[in-house]
């Protein structure tokens, strides 16, 4: 019970900190002091206290987009085990539900973008749905590998791996899908090199451009949901990258938080040392991720 409560507290409380860490890392690379680690929390609180400007073109879909997205990422977060601990909800086949929750979020985010009738937001929505067609197969290849390695279709037991850790024979497929999953994580959470969360040049963006017209609390919900998505996908990736546990309850929670913050720092480093890809090259990156995961699968079942 205690574990479930900690899980929910971490899921709802920690994600904005990841954004803070990423920004701090980028500032450090740029030789700046940068905003406080807690800045994303301040931003959220500020947004929640503002009023909204709503376009007259829009309908209920515009409001539904952020709200449904937040609901889906929270539910997805309840399906993923954090560190050594089991997830609050687990059943055979939940991995597919997990993947499709993001599909539902995408449906309503992009519909909300089209609801404004703005060409910029249409552009962003078109890119989002197009790139998903490439990242989704990569994710499923990775899930197939993990399911085969662990012999289960429950996300919790699948990500924990078999008793005594993964065998050395599956190291190569796991490394390959770890690379693929990292790219999927960058694409899905709109980080460089796929998307730049900082620019305001609409023509080069995917995610930011879809939310141009959202303001106030609705925009806060969007930022919060994006942070939770980063948290959830990061937690999945960590199981593949760091399958180590101490076995001590009081140490494993801090260890998980530390791993996650380290992952955020790595994302910050990637963002600092790389430039955003040209939009027409993004599909190549995603296809590469798909091939990495696909090769992992072929290596495993050959």
């Amino acid at each position: 019970m205690i574990e479930k409560i900690i899980h929910i507290i971490l899921l709802l409380g920690l994600p904005p900190l990841l954004l803070g860490v990423i920004n701090k890392t980028k500032a450090w690379f740029g030789g700046r002091v940068g905003p406080s680690l807690l800045q994303p929390y301040y931003d959220l609180i500020k947004l929640m206290r503002k009023g909204m400007v709503i376009s007259t073109t829009t309908t209920w879909v515009f409001l539904a987009g952020p709200i449904i997205t937040l609901a889906t990422v929270i539910l997805a977060g309840l399906l993923v085990p954090l560190g050594r601990f089991d997830s609050p909800i687990a059943f055979p086949g939940d991995l597919i539900f997990f993947a499709y929750l993001f599909g539902l979020a995408r449906f309503f985010t992009t519909s909300a973008a089209l609801d404004t009738g703005s060409p910029f937001e249409g552009m962003g929505a078109a890119r989002e749905v197009t790139f998903a067609c490439l990242s989704e197969p990569a994710l499923f290849f990775a899930l197939l590998v993990l399911a085969k390695v662990s012999g289960t279709l429950t996300l919790t037991t699948m990500l924990h791996g078999p008793e005594g850790g993964f065998s050395a024979a599956v190291a190569a497929p796991l490394v390959l899908i770890a690379i693929g999953l990292f790219v999927v994580l960058l694409a899905e959470t709109c980080r460089i090199p796929v998307d730049d969360p900082n620019t305001h040049l609409e023509l080069t963006m995917i995610h930011e451009v879809m939310v141009l017209d959202h303001s106030g609390p609705l925009f806060g919900v969007i930022l919060y949901a994006a942070a939770i998505k980063l948290f959830v996908l990061g937690a999945v990736l960590l199981h593949v990258v760091f399958p180590f546990q101490t076995g001590l309850l009081w140490l494993d929670w801090p260890l998980f938080v530390l791993e996650l913050l380290a992952l955020a720092a790595v994302i910050g480093i990637v963002e600092s040392v790389m430039a955003r890809l040209q939009m027409r090259h993004v599909p190549y990156l995603l296809i590469a991720a798909m091939l990495f995961c696909g090769f992992g699968f072929i290596l495993l079942v050959r």
Binding site: M48, T59, L75, T130, L212
Partner: protein, 661 residues
């Protein structure tokens, strides 16, 4: 026994529902009402009958000899029939109510009665197809269905597009029927009877040949790629409620045929399942890729039907693989998932076609890029359309997800866990299914966004529409069905498992779908999702600061003169994906390069022609029309010449016989 007679009465009432109206005046509203009442009465009777038969342990059947020299009048209602009968009795009846508002006989005196008659005949013959247990009776019902569908779909036969689509349909369906006649002949050769019952062991080669013929013959009806050529045109040009019945129910008759034939054949080699898996994957991916590229609302929906047939094919392939490898979990999940998807698709695709009809009714165009902002004029239709779109993208918590989830879990099971040997090549279909899912989201976001959201793209557009309740109620009923099965998929499990046991005799009663795929969790998480959304809305509402301070125009980067024409259109939305899949689609894109400093008006046009029909079939037919007339010299139209041909052939045969080659 009672239930069989009830079904006959239902088929008679539904099949001849259009007859009384033919005796009344062409503008008679009473006639159309009588037709609808007969449809409803027949459908209620039919549904009552299948409820009675689903409770019986031995499937009710009726066999009587008849006047024809071959076959006999044999019918039975087993659990597979029941599964396919339910959409047959639900969708056409709802479509008939919808037709009261959509295709008022008073406004269509030329074809209202014809449409009513053949629409009923189509529904009745489909019910007969599903209960027939004799090849000859099956083929008769099959042919009535094909012809009735032709006349129902070509109601507006003064339009040349409609006639062309009708011809293509007629040719395609008869090539399919030809394969079916060959298949049943082979079946008679193998079993010694026309009866469609499990017979003594059939040799493996013969069974394989029957399977291939069934795949082609029924594949034409179901719309497997590349046999789908008739489907987009016929669906686009038919009246919307006919499209709904054709897409939601008639395509499934092809699936039914494959399920019925494979139930009677011994499945021992894995290549059957492999073939169907490959066909399913190709059909699914190509279907949705073509759907994304379409500009015509109903053509898009038709291609998306092809995609869904592909998904059903993947499930069936998995089940066939399970039978050859003796894996009950694959059979249950594959067949259960695909049969549930048959139901689901008949619900959400009919809903979407009804919506399309309402859009056309209001806007008088099927061009997606000329629409826009319909949500303001038709809020109810928009909500119903959104439900259908979410369901067809297989997103939780609606019904499409439940069936695809079963297929996914089955495909993951082919990895082989523990001591069980796997078939990992089949698991690749899960990746294809994921891709299909993502592309479906792109396709239906495009449709929802371009048609209903934003602002009207034509400034002259006047979308005022008098949607009658008779059009809204059937849509609402279908949407309720989508939500019901999506949230409570458990209710279908009993029927699905019974059908799976009828289909594969080797299934014992110990394995069950719910032990491998606990559907109650889908219910729980679906409800949790709705609660969570409700909670977030409540939280935002109670937040004292949440308020709308201003309504303004969409942010336009400071550009002073935004017009609706700068909106992203459906084509621009799909542009990237069409380019990514150009190796399947081969889109034709015409545009004038801008050369001078002050360029004149430019034009842009992009078309995604059907690769199989427009680039393969039609050129072949054209070439045939060009070069084959030389043979016409044989056809002089004089009787004595034909008698001469007969004499020549008889002499040749006599010589052949005499030499004894």
């Amino acid at each position: 026994m009672l239930s069989v007679w009830m079904i006959f009465a239902a088929i008679a009432a539904v099949g001849l529902s259009g007859l009384p109206a033919c005796l009344l005046s062409p503008r008679s509203r009473t006639g159309q009402r009588i037709t609808t009442l007969l449809m409803l009465a027949g459908s209620v009777l039919g549904l009552a009958s299948i409820i009675i038969s689903s409770g019986q342990t031995i499937s009710p059947s009726l066999h009587v000899p008849w006047f024809l020299p071959w076959g006999r009048f044999a019918t039975a209602i087993d659990s597979i029939s029941i599964l396919f009968l339910a959409p047959v009795f639900i969708v056409p009846a709802l479509g008939s109510i919808y037709g009261l508002g959509y295709w008022k006989q008073s406004e269509h005196p030329d074809n209202g009665r014809q449409l009513g008659f053949f629409y009923g005949l189509l529904a009745g013959s489909m019910a007969l197809v599903v209960i027939a247990r004799d090849s000859v009776l099956f083929l008769i019902a099959w042919e009535i269905m094909a012809i009735a569908a032709y006349f129902a779909a070509t109601a507006e036969n003064d339009n040349p597009d409609v006639r062309r689509a009708g011809w293509i349909y007629l040719i395609a369906t008869h090539i399919g029927t030809l394969c079916l006649i060959a298949m049943f002949a082979l079946w008679h050769y193998a079993t010694g009877s026309f009866a469609l019952e499990t017979a003594q062991p059939i040799s493996l080669k013969l069974a394989g040949a029957i399977f291939i013929l069934a795949l082609i013959g029924f594949g034409f009806k179901a719309g497997f790629m590349p046999l789908h050529v008739w489907l987009p045109g016929a669906h686009a040009n038919a009246p919307s409620h006919v499209s709904a019945v054709m897409s939601g129910v008639m395509l499934k008759m092809g699936i039914y045929g494959i399920v019925r034939m494979t139930a009677m054949l011994p499945v021992t080699t894995p290549w059957w399942g492999e073939t169907l898996l490959v066909i399913g994957v190709v059909t699914g991916i190509a279907g949705i890729a073509f759907a994304i590229g379409q500009h015509d609302l109903k053509r898009l929906l038709a291609y998306s039907s092809i995609e869904n047939i592909g998904i059903i094919g993947i499930g069936l392939g998995l089940a066939l693989l399970g039978r050859s490898q003796n894996r009950p979990d694959w059979i249950l999940l594959g067949l259960g998932g695909s049969l549930l998807h048959v139901w689901n698709h008949s619900l959400f695709k009919s809903l979407l076609f009804f919506n399309a009809g309402a859009i056309i009714h209001a806007a008088h165009t099927r061009e997606i890029d000329r629409l826009g902002g319909l949500a303001k004029q038709m809020p109810q239709v928009m909500i119903l359309f959104a439900i259908g779109a979410v369901a067809i993208c297989a997103l939780p918590p609606l019904n499409g997800f439940a069936s695809e989830w079963l297929i996914y879990v089955g495909l993951f099971h082919t990895l082989g866990f523990g001591d069980n040997a796997g078939f990992p090549a089949a698991a690749l279909a899960a990746v294809a299914l994921a891709m299909i899912g993502a592309m479906a989201v792109a396709c239906f976001v495009k449709l929802l966004g371009t048609v209903f959201l934003g602002s009207p793209r034509c400034e002259s557009a006047d979308y005022t529409s008098d949607l009658s309740a008779s059009m809204i109620i059937p849509m609402a009923a279908l949407a309720a069905g989508c939500a019901g099965i999506g949230l409570f998929p458990m209710i279908t499990i009993g029927l699905l498992e019974k059908a799976a046991r009828t289909w594969a005799v080797q299934l014992d009663s110990t394995t069950s779908i719910v032990t491998v795929a606990p559907l109650r969790w889908i219910t729980a998480l679906g409800l949790a999702l709705i609660l969570l959304v409700g909670a977030i809305i409540l939280a935002l509402k109670t937040l004292p600061q949440t308020r709308i301070i201003r309504n303004s125009c969409t942010w336009d980067c400071g550009y002073a003169l935004p017009t609706p024409r700068i909106q992203y259109t459906g084509s621009s939305f799909a542009h990237m994906l069409v380019n990514l899949s150009h190796f399947i689609l081969w889109p034709k894109i015409y545009w004038l390069a801008i050369r001078s400093i002050f360029p004149g008006p430019a034009r842009f046009k992009s078309i995604v022609p059907d690769t199989v029909l427009d680039r393969l079939a039609l050129p072949v037919f054209d070439a045939a029309a060009r070069y084959l007339p030389a043979i016409r010299i044989l056809q002089q139209g004089q009787t004595h010449l034909y008698v001469l041909y007969i004499v020549i052939i008889v002499i040749v045969l006599l010589i052949w016989g005499a030499i004894g080659i």
